[in-house]
């Protein structure tokens, strides 16, 4: 229902979160699963759109943890002797971005960009080019405050409880981490916190040496012991960790050899190991005594106090929190300067104020009034409500492709969709042009499968998105045995001795765009003798029903994780988010192989093959890729979009700045 969800359409994947999550919490970059348009089932998704409920609530690991084998780390000297270490990149996202921008040609001046109206790809490129630049020395106002928009409140300020997009937005700025990933989603260790990062030649170990000039917001040093401690807490089954345990559960152990040296031990040499070692960090000296008594980390008086004013290790700390209204972060002076000595660059904003507004119409009013400086725009807002002087007086807008896709999922265990021909018929029945041009205002791209065409894991030979072809759809249904035998205008088939009419329900969340897309599908199917009932439900109900596999079809979407392996839990037989009960031994095998294959080109081949198989099997009817559409105040500069939107990578939000007045 529109009212509850704020931004419009999106669902995003929480798997994203899981892995990525981890990925993000890093120093300068925040990450959040995205949020934007409000799509439906939050089922899956990243909490995007919907306000607060969109969360990835579900624990990714089973409730009952398998007993972990005891792990006894060898001595560091033995380890060093027995291991060939290979250096891995240690980088600063901001430095990388600055270098990349030095190579780019400016398409127009800043002043010109501020007068442009973003009504074509050309002006969009100009705006991004001119207003996306990092500041020259002294150009940024380091005392500035930015007012950001989030769709829902925080569930918790504890970084290991992270799961919704609002939590990624905010905890990404306050959290401490060793790793991050850049605009191309390639992982690296963050130069702000790490001296060196090495991986063993056999891929079973990762060794990180941390910087010695890091302190928590209470002044205690951040050490390798904090990281080992956090791993212990995250893996304790008594601690209700919603998302970040997926990934860390692939580790054998984490051991701190001294205050600055930490080694991660893997069970297997996986391509995904670089993501598994990236998890949020808690201050050991704060939680050491309290967590055993209260493993929920939120019920005891000490934990309640910490929830209100957490001890943090990132560049910002929370200074004010009004539930349901706003959260104010202030730059930590002891992040950039320790003992009076400047040790790292300070972030561009002194204060970041997050305004919590659920309704997209309300947030647009706030943007126009100058109360917030950025927000995600819905397709309707982009096209019809941000084109006049009223909007451009204070703001401008920009868009870029984003890896978030939407689909109709067919439950393969229902009597209707077990046959691949039926699922393909569904895909041939849908009117994609009507959806893209009319319902989505021509702003989204057609989608043929799991991985975006421009990603490294997509097939080299582009798959053509399905097009409406009612003749083919009818022929496929005839072939599959769905024929109108009892002359009531509805196709039917004898199943277990009973004539079953082809009539089913599709679940979608209560968002106007999603409902409209389902209604369009209903009309398309109606024309070929198939009845579909559209059943909009509350997003939490949708999440529940899809997780229990109690549906025939649903409308959903996934945000892309940073690694193609994150989609394994959507397609592998019996996987958590395999809502449609898809099972194909070859796909299962390819995921296994892809994870073990360390050569990226060969790995890409595995995932490309998965995409081709899925394309043939059509367990989903893929609908569209949803772009990022943002409105920005004209005072804000430095926004650069990645496939995960403008904020959720490194530097992401860290590159935003405001010029001095």
């Amino acid at each position: 229902m529109q009212i509850r969800c704020g931004r419009m359409d999106g669902l995003c994947a929480w798997w994203t979160v899981a892995v990525v999550a981890a990925a993000m919490l890093l120093s300068g970059c925040r990450e959040s699963p995205n949020d934007d348009l409000g799509v439906g089932p939050q089922v899956d998704v990243k909490p995007e759109l919907s306000s607060s409920d969109a969360v990835l609530k579900q624990p990714v690991t089973p409730a009952v943890e398998p007993e972990r084998e005891p792990f006894d780390p060898p001595a560091l000297a033995d380890l060093d002797q027995a291991t060939t270490w290979i250096d891995r990149p240690v980088q600063d996202g901001l430095v990388l971005l600055r270098a990349a921008q030095a190579e780019e040609n400016l398409l127009c001046s800043t002043d010109e960009a501020l007068t442009l109206k973003n009504d074509s790809a050309d002006t969009n490129a100009k705006i991004l080019s001119a207003l996306g630049r990092l500041p020259a020395d002294g150009e940024a106002d380091l005392e500035a405050r930015i007012d950001r928009h989030v769709m829902g409140d925080l569930g918790s300020t504890n970084p290991i409880m992270i799961s919704t997009s609002a939590e990624f937005d905010i905890l990404g700025l306050t959290g401490f981490g060793l790793f991050s990933f850049g605009r191309d989603l390639d992982p690296f260790a963050a130069a702000e916190t790490v001296v060196s990062w090495q991986t063993s030649a056999d891929g079973l170990l990762d060794k990180v040496v941390m910087r010695d000039d890091l302190v928590w917001s209470d002044g205690s040093p951040i050490t390798a012991h904090d990281i080992a401690f956090s791993y212990t807490v995250i893996m304790d089954p008594r601690v209700p960790v919603p998302a970040v345990r997926s990934g860390t559960d692939q580790l054998r152990g984490v051991h701190a050899y001294d205050d600055h040296t930490i080694v991660f031990f893997h069970q297997e040499p996986l391509a995904t190991n670089v993501w598994n070692i990236n998890f949020p960090v808690l201050p050991k000296h704060v939680y050491e005594k309290t967590w055993e008594q209260d493993p929920t980390l939120k019920d005891s008086p000490e934990h309640v106090a910490l929830e209100q004013s957490p001890i943090v290790g990132g560049p910002y700390e929370i200074v004010e929190r009004t539930r349901g209204q706003q959260i104010v972060l202030r730059r930590r002076e002891n992040w950039s300067a320790v003992n009076g000595k400047k040790v790292r660059e300070e972030p561009f904003f002194k204060e970041v104020r997050f305004r919590i507004i659920e309704d997209p119409n309300t947030s647009l009013l706030a943007l126009k009034a100058g109360d917030i400086h950025e927000m995600i725009l819905t397709p309707e807002q982009w096209t019809t409500q941000t084109t006049d002087e009223d909007f451009y007086q204070r703001n401008t807008k920009a868009n870029a492709p984003e890896w978030v896709s939407f689909h109709l999922g067919w439950n393969i265990e229902s009597p209707f969709f077990a046959d691949r021909r039926v699922r393909r018929a569904m895909s041939y029945a849908f009117d994609y042009d009507e959806m893209l041009d009319k319902l989505c205002y021509g702003l989204y791209q057609p989608c043929a499968g799991n991985f975006p065409d421009d990603s490294w894991m997509a097939p080299k030979k582009k798959l053509q998105p399905y097009k409406q072809d009612l003749d083919t759809a009818e022929a496929l249904l005839d072939e599959a045995g769905w024929i109108d035998r009892d002359n009531d205008g509805i196709r039917d088939k004898e199943i277990d001795g009973r004539l079953v009419p082809f009539e089913f329900s599709i679940l979608c969340s209560q968002q106007p765009l999603r409902i409209a897309i389902c209604v369009l599908m209903k009309d398309c199917l109606d024309r070929i003798g198939v009845r579909m009932n559209v059943k909009p439900v509350e997003s939490t109900v949708l999440q529940d029903l899809t997780q229990k596999r109690k549906f025939q079809a649903y409308f959903g979407g996934w945000g892309s994780g940073t690694d193609p392996d994150t989609s394994e839990n959507i397609w592998k037989t019996g996987a958590m988010r395999n809502f449609v009960n898809y099972s194909n031994p070859e796909v299962d095998r390819l995921y296994e192989e892809g994870r073990r294959e360390l050569d990226r080109a060969k790995r890409a081949g595995k995932y490309a093959r998965i995409q081709e198989i899925l394309y043939e099997d059509q367990p989903y009817t893929w609908l569209f890729w949803r772009n990022s559409f943002y409105g920005f105040s004209k005072r804000v500069r430095g926004y650069v979009f990645s496939p995960r939107g403008p904020f959720h990578y490194s530097p992401g939000f860290g590159s935003l700045w405001m010029p001095s007045e």
Binding site: M1, E380, K438, D484, G489, I515, A516, V519, K522, K535
Partner: protein
Amino acid sequence: MNGSPSHGFWAEAWRRYRRRPLAMAALSFVGFLVAVAILAPAIAGTKPVLCRYKGKLYAPCLGYFDRRLEPVIFTKDKFRGEYPRNLQEKDPDSWAIWPIFFQDPYRSVRADEWPGRPANPSRDEGRPSRMNPFGTDQYGVDVLAKMVHGTTVALLVGFLSMGIAGTIGIIVGALGGYFGGWVDMLTSRITEIVMCVPTLVLILALVAIVDKPTIWKTMAIIGCTGWTGIARLTRGEFLRLKSSEFVMAARAAGAGPLRIMLRHILPNALAPILVPITFGIAAAILMESSLSFLGFGPPPPAASWGSLLNSARSNLAMWWLVVFPGTAIFLTVLAYNLIGEGLQEATDPRLREARK
């Protein structure tokens, strides 16, 4: 009711009612809505009202009332919902009578679906025009077609839910008022309990639980919770009338309680009871519109006035999404209120005296 005294009473009431121009206008308006609801497929639709195809007569427009009423031959012949061109192509001798507005309440009309006509405008471009007198919504669906087909829902909600409420209310009130004692005690307490249940919350809860929320279930709930006022009034009337002379006469003549309640008391109590029922109809229509506005109305793509209002929320510049359905809801609710008021004044002797 041959020769029963209430016969003259009703004729008298009708005479007085007819003298009130506003109440009569309201009654004609409701009559007009009933006509629109019944003739909806002939007013706006994309299926022929009547057509001759391959030598036989069909009325595909009935499909708007129930999908099963649409002749199967058109599905078999792969019309795929598009009649104008297919009729010509597949049987050049065919003829058809078309609805007044060639527009569909459930989908946007495609380009050239009616030879030579462009597709419906979508996004925010659907201002009222010759093709779409009331404009189109963001997805290109004609507002007039939606409103015409939504009339059925608006009327049904009013009549059915108040039918249910009236039945329950009269039975409960009659039992309590007539028998008194512990029966009265029991029915009065039940009435009070039901009064405490907020209808809107109950419906929201129901929508979350029920597998297939339909407009019928919504009506049932509005009916099952909206009878309390009627029950109280009925009880009062029965309490007053059960000691009147004509009831005593009937009892003396040996009539049983059921006969006394139905034949003697009820006809005399009906007039005051009808008034809250008319107001209830208006309230039910408003309730349905609010539910649709909140997104809990009949399942999409069902046309309903409230859901049209809802689609205006995201872009208030599309004034035609607010003005037309808003006016329709306003006028209908006003009409029922005027009818209720007219009834009250026509039947209440005290008010009649005051007017003289």
